[in-house]
């Protein structure tokens, strides 16, 4: 079985057109779970999201001969998905634009109580001496990371509001580019960065609590 890297997309498209089942399995494994989650953001229901994703695969296969490679296969795939998901959400009256979701409302990255009050004049809004962040004694690039640390991060991500959760997954776990994420989620680069920042800030907070307990 040939393993297609994300970079030999022309080979992958050719293999799909030729009816190569392992090529199809690979692309499904690479994207299907992401597609279902992204469709859920639009339709707000996992069952409907699975239907939309399944329909998308059918459309993709039947349109393969018209795919001209002007965008990447990935972008093309996700564009079909988001268009279908959005149409379905609007039809079922379930579409909630990001602007109405509350996820862009003001929210401090760090609890205000950790900073000095206005009464301290030139020191106002600087760290209180007993609330300063501490260096973590972990080196993510060298250490074998304890499974516990992964669970802390996974739970923190699971607890995020939906758009923040999807942005951090796509950006930091799945390595999608900012452009790709903006296209897929139909959001502006500014909002993408706001969501990413909030998501990372919350994960950082969870890790800080964990490292304080088990340094």
């Amino acid at each position: 079985m040939h393993n297609f890297s994300p970079y030999d997309e022309n080979d992958l498209v050719a293999a799909l057109r030729a009816g190569d089942e392992s090529a199809f399995t690979q692309i499904v494994e690479r994207y299907h779970a992401n597609m279902v989650r992204i469709a859920s953001l639009y339709v707000g229901d996992v069952q409907i999201a699975q239907e939309v994703t399944q329909e998308t695969w059918v459309v993709v296969l039947h349109s393969l001969n018209r795919f001209e490679g002007r965008s990447s296969l990935k972008t093309w795939l996700f564009t079909i998905l988001t268009n279908r998901a959005k149409t379905r959400a609007v039809r079922e009256n379930r579409y909630v634009p990001l602007e109405d979701s509350g996820e862009l409302d003001d929210e401090p990255s760090v609890a205000a109580a950790r900073f000095r009050p206005e009464s301290e004049l030139e020191w106002a809004d600087h760290w209180k001496s007993n609330a300063k962040p501490q260096t973590w004694g972990i080196n993510p690039e060298a250490h074998v990371i304890a499974g516990e640390v992964n669970s802390v991060i996974a739970s923190a991500i699971a607890a995020l509001p939906t758009h923040q959760r999807e942005v951090i997954r796509l950006h930091d776990i799945e390595n999608f580019s900012t452009d790709e994420i903006c296209n897929i989620l139909q959001i502006t680069p500014t909002n993408q960065r706001v969501l990413l920042h909030r998501a990372r800030s919350r994960v950082r907070h969870a890790l800080e609590l964990y490292f304080q307990r088990s340094p």
């Binding site: 695969w57 501490q134 973590w136 950082r204």
Partner: protein, 77 residues
């Protein structure tokens, strides 16, 4: 105008993604040079990102895969 710690923590993602304008970036760097708390905070955010990047997705559930293979076989037929 000096950047406060409270302001700095809101700009960390912009800073790490290279999205700050030159003037704000200079204020950010000037603040870091004198603030251990914010230096540790930036390092925590950097480590958070590296640790998050090490997570991997769960494999696709088997039923979905079988169903999609049928879709593929029908299309090919």
């Amino acid at each position: 105008m000096i950047l406060t710690c409270k302001e700095l923590v809101e700009l960390v993602t912009h800073y790490l993604e290279g999205a700050l304008d030159v003037e704000t970036r200079a204020r950010f760097d000037a603040h870091l040079a004198e603030c251990k708390g914010c230096t540790a905070y930036l390092e925590q955010m950097h480590k958070t990102i590296l640790l998050t990047k090490r997570l991997r997705e769960d494999d696709l559930a088997q039923p979905a895969r079988d169903e999609l293979l049928n879709v593929f076989r029908n299309w090919r037929a």
